[in-house]
Symmetry: C2
Subunit: 542 residues, 2 copies
């Protein structure tokens, strides 16, 4: 067979050949911008020409601090197709982390949205490698910013007439993209994406049995384009010529539902908190929107609550497509689509499968390692998920922490999962949050979820603390709803849990608190809780 | 990203993990055999263990002369997963070509169906490299054949208990399969398929926008498993866990329709002559069959007649999925699926697109080179189709003819095509059959098809012959239907053509004959016609 490389350039060329009239729609500060893949192809070349004149060479890092819009999409293809590396940055990180990331990646040029410029102005002095700032805006002319040197994107595009052409020399294992993921402690860790990985991932999300991206789709990625390439949707959509609907700066649920109605969106993607917000708006103002074109909402990032999946189905006839991945996995690894033999089950039984993260996609291999080696596929035995495959990272970028996570050719995800008889995988915890009690494993997440189904509970977090006999035992901190304070006992909540769990799973204590500390992205800060309560049971016993 | 290889073994392992209960159904001389991917996985290991004991090493060629059945499918995975090469042989070739192919490939072991054993017995003395014959049959015990040494497949499987395990050492560019394609003159030419090519091709046929293979499908490949791996369907179906329905020895249209009815087939694949036969049976005995499960019949090998596509739609509510490929292309290159903007067209207008070979699949690149370089995409300008990509062959196996076909990194298909504004490709001729008249190109196929729509015409073949002024001019040989003989004039047929074609396209003469010579696979023997009539116009002028 021919030794032709799998590259993003081939995706770009395909879109221009087959789908030049298909639309890309982009919501910006001045309203909706609308153009075609044909126009997009031309502007992508102009952007690459401008970057070339600004000195970008193969292997250089070009960063973005940008929303999901058409200019960001142009950078998605222009930068890698020049042989350079597109480094998408989460602009909501702390200034310290932003400085670390930009310096560690040695970014040469930064493309920054006009609404995000102040974030960079505040740290500009600390950025050691950045040569040029390009402001993403409709404006042209002289820039109004303290960033130096800075140009308006549209000014560069307008002036570019070098007739730049992409070279065909890119090898499929060359890096194309880069993204940092936050670490439990310390600085974020960088992941490189290769052309091969991104190309294969694009094929994988076009499979009928995964997400089934198609030319007939109109795709709205809500997940940010700085977050694992918006789960690869911009690359996949371009490969298949799907209409792309990019929601721009800080879209509200109303904005998103209006875009879905007006652009006949068929497929959208976001994290559970996004979908909970959209659900609330739909419940309250259903008649304002037309969701008849929607074939699915992809939900990933963290587990989709079962109740939410059901609410969308029952009240709005919308299917939630549950998926799983990580920054290190490009990201798609699992997608929860019902197998043929499950189609005859009741809708409640089907929901049990839809609420799991799903089946492994073709191309990726998994192992689940529990206390005694590979776990049984019984939906119960827990183990850490290990992954291997052509779109799984092999290291962290110039980072000693590589050796903690990439071992013997496998990515150790740190996620604890079960695998059922049908092969559906469910995340039950993070390895570090799992409670190891007398040689047995207890899922803190399962206990938390069960506590939060009790009518009195507003929030609950479960974690392991030291125990003289059992090594670790779970305890829970609980915030009660206002109406239930002083009226709800520890015994009532333990009784509630006892209906679902074996006795040895039940927390040794439940502590009522006013608030649970959270991370910057709204997750419970379990590390902090564990530190605060580490001697709680030891002190109690003594 | 990790450097993990794309191999057939990973497909096999995925099927065993996720789809162990899904069915494989195989029609044999003793009726229907039915088992699961779980059983299939075990027997594949046993076959590999037996082949290993018989001395098969990585790189060895193991040939098959077999129908589409479960044992052939076991060989499809066992042989490549050992690192050996599966050489599928068309047992209908002439004895001379069979001898050439087997000796040229240096096949070490041949798996042969019991119904095909006489073919090999007749040529056994001429086979220089074959060490062992394995008879595919339900039988066990001592074999009844003149082939030596020979074993029954089931005897080997039953006795195998070595616990053979596949190695993980296979590289993705290692050869996995081999198939010979007939040449215009001389011996057949061999093509090697790599693990990478077959894996990527399997992904490609699972895309929603190509063939959309799915776990929910029940797939009946009628195209032989010796013909470009039954178009890759057995590999793709195993990757996705589709039910496989294998039709066994010499199925009739009745047999095929019964299988479709009973096994709830959703997708089938074959050449136009197969589908014409099935159509006839359906038209005559529709009430005998239940075709409600069918979502499509894939039609390739040669162009699907427009009337047939329409007949299936109108009379049986069955979609024909038109596709194109060659032995050299693994094979899928084009699939004719309607783009979003064509869905509002009338059914007649849509038929114009469905009757074309379709849109290029992701991963493959094309160029169409006409008289003046790359052709315009206007649906009219003709050029030779050139292809490049990871599942396109790069050479013929140990064959000097490689240099005629593989030039500057492109496969020169020898097919003349047009490309329309939407990117749909249509085959209009073979380069060697194109009539080159005064520097312009005339499609012999277009003229033939038009002639055959005339009520009086049974068969027609058009080809170019020498002309003193125009270099070449087309002439036609025509067989009239019995009722029209002696009643139909040359002028009537030319008048019929003049309604559709420019004057300079019309044949210089039409010659009525009783019969048109054909090749062994039923195509017009144009080379013979050209030789016979080469001086026809020169003689006429003088």
């Amino acid at each position: 067979m021919m030794d032709t490389p799998l590259t993003l350039l081939s995706i770009l060329k395909r879109a221009k050949f087959l789908f030049p009239k298909n639309e890309i729609v982009s919501r910006g500060v001045n309203g909706i911008f609308r153009y075609t893949y044909g126009d997009f192809y031309k502007r992508t070349h102009k952007l690459a020409g401008a970057l070339n004149l600004l000195g970008v060479k193969p292997g250089d890092r070009v960063a973005t601090l940008a929303w999901n819009d058409h200019r960001h999409l142009e950078a998605y293809f222009a930068v890698p197709s020049m042989g350079a590396i597109l480094h998408t940055i989460n602009f909501r990180l702390s200034p310290e982390h932003l400085i670390y990331i930009i310096n560690h990646a040695e970014d040469k040029i930064i493309l920054v949205d006009e609404t995000i410029v102040p974030v960079l102005e505040a740290i500009q002095d600390k950025l050691k490698t950045v040569k040029v700032y390009i402001i993403l805006s409709d404006k042209k002319g002289a820039t109004e910013t303290k960033l130096r040197p800075a140009y308006y994107y549209e000014q560069l595009i307008e002036e570019e007439n070098s007739g730049f052409q992409f070279s065909e020399d890119i090898k499929e294992n060359d890096p194309a993209g880069m993204c940092f993921t936050s670490a439990t402690t310390g600085n974020p860790k960088g992941v490189l994406y290769s052309h091969r990985g991104l190309f294969l991932h694009s094929m994988a999300i076009g499979l009928t049995d995964t997400l089934g991206l198609s030319e007939r789709d109109s795709i709205l990625p809500i997940v940010p384009m700085f977050h694992v390439n918006a789960w690869g949707l911009p690359f996949g959509a371009t490969m298949f010529g799907s209409k792309q609907v990019l929601p721009g700066p800080a879209p509200t649920p109303k904005d998103l539902l209006n875009l879905m109605s007006e652009e006949k969106v068929t497929l959208s993607a976001g994290v559970p908190t996004i979908w909970l917000g959209v659900l609330k708006e739909l419940d309250e103002n259903k008649s304002n929107y037309d969701t008849s074109s929607i074939r699915g909402f992809i939900c990933g990032g963290s587990a989709a609550p079962r109740g939410m999946i059901k609410a969308y189905e029952d009240r709005h006839n919308i299917q939630i497509l549950h998926a799983y991945g990580m920054t290190e996995t490009t990201p798609l690894v699992f997608a929860s689509r019902l197998k043929n033999n499950l189609l005859n089950l009741s809708s409640e039984e089907q929901l049990n499968y839809k609420a799991k993260q799903g089946l492994i996609v073709p191309g990726i291999e998994m192992k689940v390692i529990g206390k005694n080696g590979e776990v049984k596929h019984d939906g119960k035995e827990m183990g850490e998920l290990l992954l291997r495959g052509p779109w799984i990272a092999s290291e962290y970028y110039n980072d000693e922490r590589t050796k903690e996570t990439f071992i013997d050719g496998w990515l150790h995800t740190g996620d604890v999962v079960t695998v059922d008889e049908e092969g559906y995988v469910q995340i039950v915890d993070r390895t570090k949050d799992l409670v190891k009690s007398g040689g047995e494993w207890i899922s803190s997440v399962d206990l938390e979820n069960a506590l939060m189904t009790h009518e009195a509970v507003f929030e609950a977090s479960v974690f392991g603390v030291a125990h003289p006999k059992w090594q670790e035992r779970p305890i829970a901190v609980v915030v009660l709803k206002d109406d239930y304070r002083e009226k709800t006992t520890k015994e009532a909540l333990l009784g509630h849990l006892a209906k679902q769990f074996a006795k040895w799973w039940l927390p040794d204590d439940i502590i009522f608190v006013d608030e649970i500390p959270k991370t910057s992205v709204g997750k419970f800060l379990k590390r902090g809780l564990r530190e605060k309560y580490q001697n709680y049971l030891l002190d109690k016993e003594s």
